[in-house]
Symmetry: C2
Subunit: 391 residues, 2 copies
DNA sequence: CTGAAAGCGCTAACAC
DNA sequence: GTGTTAGCGCTTTCAG
């Protein structure tokens, strides 16, 4: 199975390599007639450009690197990740790009991979998830000169683009909703506080509660179901337990449900639960599914002291712009914030407004040529940065 | 940020490019002394080989291609996929390889990607999941000359290696267990029958039931929770409903639980549920979690006619070699079958026995240098094939 | 043990 | 419009 090269094409057509190359790359310098013949032959012979050869002379790649620093075991449990992946893939699909993926738990290893992939020209740039406080990556990638898009929190290096989630707005929504239901004491079960977006949530939830004169108890956990259950259990076992909690992801919300059940309490009767993420877990673990609802009603009398009539709804939802619909496992659509700083791309500002369905992860953009998902969208950023950086 | 090349290293050390190359690649032809100096300098200058240049002259890549043909939306809901991914990544991590990933729903597109990635030298080979009856990929990849490992079912092309799941054994285990509990009529809610392994399950479950003189009703579904719920609902609504069902994945088992609840029936009282996969969903949606168990007991009397005392356990488990432990959401360890045909790798037979923990996806191998997961393991196959193919 | 040189497949000046 | 040529960074003969 001998590889077909442009030299082969050139030979068979009696042309030179360069003419063939021009034709293939849709560049001026060849007649339409010639171009057609080249294209046809290439098709017939099933020619494909050698990606290494092309990368070697172009010094660029159409591959985007993603290094996920999480325990693979735990990752498989977290719906968020696959949604991110699917979003990126949706975009890469249309751009005919590719994703180079690595999952590792080891921070040292992670940094080594960034260096290696970049220095070995494997990728055009990176997408970075899960930004930490004191995250070494902004500095590392800047020093390497590698384009990168940070997702979820602004990079500490202002020259790097990022896509933000409206954390503050979410916090406001969640706290506001629970306050409206009459709760006076909220629990906040946050994810790892080393994560920037968790720190933001910590602060903004606190601020929203303070503004309304609500009591707030914060407990940190690690995003796992087990630890969420532990944390919520701690809250429930206090003499002054909160009547509602907010968890940082759905997995911990499921943990919350289990903590409630384990204590023979009910939700939302004894504890209203609201969570960030609105993944499919909300559909799977639906406390309302019959005869569960009836069941709750029956159990409630057993602990009348703990039963609360204030909260009749379980806000199983997240990142919603409007108030969560009571007892709904669907999140309404929301409008995300403009996602980039226009300064970053002087030649072609990329500010845009996305209409985002958080449940499906898909977005509509006011720039019609752009992607179909929030993370697909930042996938697009990379090549663009490449263009504006090396003019 | 100028790239560091071996020419740079050679210059600074007063050597020639070739010597440097030899030293770097651990090849004979340089003194130990020289090798050390080269290695040290490379380290100091943070040199990394250009992957494209290397691939260009080597005509090989350390990247493995994975094209997943599923609806991305649905994928995020299916724990199986991320476990596969994590398994491969675990192996790639140690091999310092990389995964080129593409998720697409379009079969035509899928085949185009295989061609393109192969002809453009992007990957060393492929791992193929979800083999269909009449799957075009074995033929396609053979005709391209691309190494590929098929997972889950034997390729129709016997020259291609594959990693099998012990489907027949699983079927036997599941049916046997339910029969032992006293069930006489089983339902089998299978996944898409176009998938080879589902066809195998269909046949082997039927055979196992027949051998025991059990009745069996098969209903096909699409692996989604909703469709699983629909299918189980259909079974439950029949006048002669089965007392136990087997579903093809956990998501459909969750659907089954919901179908049961929606009819105010109980599980396992009215319907025992057993499923292939044993993912984390089993932990999340645990019908036994208190006060659920008590709840079941209370509900049962409401529909005494439907309540069965035969089944006291919910076999929420899968792919177990021994009988499932009653009411356990953990699968015991199992021994997988030898995974490859020794004929396939004449130079270096790769037959090995894996000890596999199906819950974590990790395996122990009797070939100690080998991988740590079943899919990591087939990741390893690719380069090995490469070696034996181009001697 | 070392150096010069060819070539992997493609792009991009630069001449014709 | 078309052909010639010089790299891109690395590997690999083949002489010294």
């Amino acid at each position: 199975m001998k590889r077909v090269t442009i030299a082969d094409l050139a030979d068979r057509l009696g042309l030179s390599k360069s003419s063939v190359s021009y034709a293939l790359n849709d560049r001026p310098g060849v007649s339409d007639e010639t171009r057609r013949r080249v294209l046809d032959l290439a098709d017939e012979l099933d020619w494909h450009p050698s990606s290494s050869a092309r990368a070697l002379s172009n010094k660029r790649s159409d591959t985007i690197g993603l290094v996920v620093r999480r325990d693979p075991e735990m990752l498989s449990t977290e719906p968020f990740f696959v949604r991110v992946l699917a979003g990126m893939e949706a975009e890469l699909e249309r751009a005919d790009g590719a994703l180079l993926l690595r999952i590792t738990d080891d921070p040292e290893r992670e940094r080594a991979i960034y260096r290696q992939w970049w220095r070995s020209d494997r990728v055009a740039g990176f997408i970075c998830l899960d930004q930490h406080v004191d995250d070494p990556r902004p500095r590392l990638l800047t020093s390497l000169g590698a384009p990168a898009v940070f997702v979820g929190a602004p990079s500490t290096d202002p020259s790097q683009p990022h896509v933000l989630s409206p954390e503050a707005e979410d916090s406001e929504t969640l706290v506001g909703h629970l306050a409206d239901l009459g709760h006076r004491h909220l629990g906040h079960v946050g994810g790892p506080i080393a994560l920037s977006h968790e720190r933001i949530r910590h602060d903004t939830v606190a601020a929203a509660a303070r503004r309304r004169g609500l009591r707030l108890t914060y407990v940190g956990a690690d995003y796992s179901k087990a630890d969420g259950q532990r944390a919520v259990g701690e809250l429930l076992d206090r003499p002054d337990a909160p009547t509602a909690i907010i968890t940082g992801n759905d997995l911990m919300a499921v943990g919350a449900v289990h903590a409630v059940r384990a204590r023979r309490l009910t939700s939302p009767g004894d504890l209203a639960i609201a969570a960030w993420d609105d993944s499919f877990l909300c559909q799977l673990v639906d406390p309302r599914s019959p005869p569960w609802t009836a069941h709750l009603a029956r159990w409630a009398p057993w602990r009348p002291g703990r039963s609360s009539t204030r909260s009749r709804s379980l806000a199983w939802c997240s990142r919603t712009a409007g108030p969560p619909r009571a007892c709904s496992s669907r999140a309404p659509r929301r409008w995300a914030e403009p996602a980039t700083d226009p300064d970053l791309l002087p030649t072609e500002p990329v500010q845009c407004i996305l209409a985002c369905d958080d449940r499906t992860g898909s977005v509509r953009s006011n720039q019609p040529t752009w992607g179909s998902s929030p993370l697909g969208w930042c996938t697009r950023l990379i090549p663009r940065l490449g263009v504006s950086v090396s003019p």
